[in-house]
Amino acid sequence: MSDMTNTNEDILLAVENLSISFGGLKAVDNFNVKIKRGELYGLIGPNGAGKTTVFNLLTGVYKPDTGAIILDGKPITGKKTTEINHEGIARTFQNIRLFTNLSVLDNVKTALDERYRYGLLDSIFRTPKFRRMEKELDERALSILSVFELEDEAELKASQLPYGKQRKLEIARALATEPKLILLDEPAAGMNPQETKELMDTIALIRREFSVTILLIEHDMKLVSGICERLTVLNFGQILREGETRAVLNDPEVIKAYLGD
């Protein structure tokens, strides 16, 4: 714990005493975490431990009962999902949530909306500004898609993509909002070992290309141990262990929580 109190550290996300209950059940109880800028941090735990609830609290889908969330020195507790994204948090979802009837390209372009703005009248009268902005949007979206090797599928409907590519598109869309922190909710769920390996490469790549901090929920232990620097283990809504990945994964308590008694 001593390294966390060090004020010289560049902390991007600080969460303090975060709690929420649903109908008397404490889904997340006194959750704390400090994530350094540029870090790849893992959040693991058995089913129903409250991992996704933490994500929903961080992104404003749920309002916490108590606690504070500070992003880059700025409190964001209680803000709306939209505002939190503008502050710099983007996410993916455990059950993929794409804009299924939009093209792959438009999925990313929608995420660029904040950065390439033009007015309603520009849209209706197709002004030069509209054309210029749309051109820039296309270029930017394609360049993001090319990082994920999705540029050839740019004009397909998102729902036509195979599963693995849908996961990639969801990450691409989140990154297009240029977040400081991206939350990945079980990105390897439903993938075979080959796809999982590719995904690990992709995550390493986006960390370099987009210089983004990553908080990752994962079940796949191999993925976690392969890429995460530090971990928090949740169990029944409470923190079981936190610290360096290897130390945490070898902790008997953690092993017990995962394998059961």
Partner: protein, 356 residues
Amino acid sequence: MKLKYKQKSLRYSLLTYAMVLAFYIICEIMLMTGNMSSLMKGMLVPLCYYSILAVSLNLVVGISGELSLGHAGFMCIGAFTGAIFAMTGGASLPGWAELGIAIVLGAVVSGVFGFLIGIPVLRLRGDYLAIVTLAFGEIIKNVINVVYLGVDSRGWHFSLKDSLSLGLEPDGQTIIKGAQGITRLPRNATFTLGIVMLILALFIILNLINSRYGRAIMAVRDNRIAAESIGISASRYKMLAFVTASAIAGVAGVLYSHNLSTLQSSSSNFGYNQSIMMLVFVVLGGIGNIRGSIIAAVILTILPEKLRFLDDYRMLIYAVVLIAMMLFNSAPSAIAFRERIAASLRRSAGKEAADE
């Protein structure tokens, strides 16, 4: 890499405008050569405003994905706004100026109501939204039906009781007479104006859909939570679609009231059954398919008239056709059946190609 979507959307838009223009030209030729029945002549303006209503409702139902059952209410607001202007400020203006200002006023007033109604309505989801829009439509129609409005040298007078309680000066004029509505309207809407308004409505809606606004509206429709997670404000974009559609429905209302000599706020004009009829246009024309809405509106408006020889049976047949088409288009087993047929046709076509 070369993107094709722009040509595709441009082709769609141009084809839609061309279709409307072709329809206009054919009708004009028929009019000039005297080949059009008086029944059909009377339907030209209605075809325009029904098409405008259908495309604007499609913006809400198809593009924004919200089931609205109160579209006739906005048409009603536009109709009365336009008619009140025609009877007052517009009475001394030349026809074209009166119509132009009436259309702008109708759009603005209807749009403002769309905004006010949208605040509570768009917080609701699905079927709750449907019943509340229906409720608003009925409220608008019923309230206007009991309104008495007059104007004299002292200004506007308003009552919910009768014309006497307006307390007008002798020179005053009663404009809305409760259930009797507004009488002696100029009746100066033309087919050409209707077509111009339809093309204008199409221009606004198609360009809106193919812009960042349209993308955001559809993103919210497809997945509200994901849209919010990337910074798209769901309520703002839903509201944009709702207000735009309301304003355009208001324009249709202005056309409607300028095509009649007496305007009444009755169930047969602006009741929920009218809203439902517009929804039928949208669904049969294809959800989100703007061009389809026009085609459906035109066919389904002409069809019952052409079936007049069937007398009482025509609406019964209309109902049966409606049910049959829904079953054919949407039933999972019918879709599977169509796909099987299509696949076997493709196979046999492929075989022939291979045989040659």
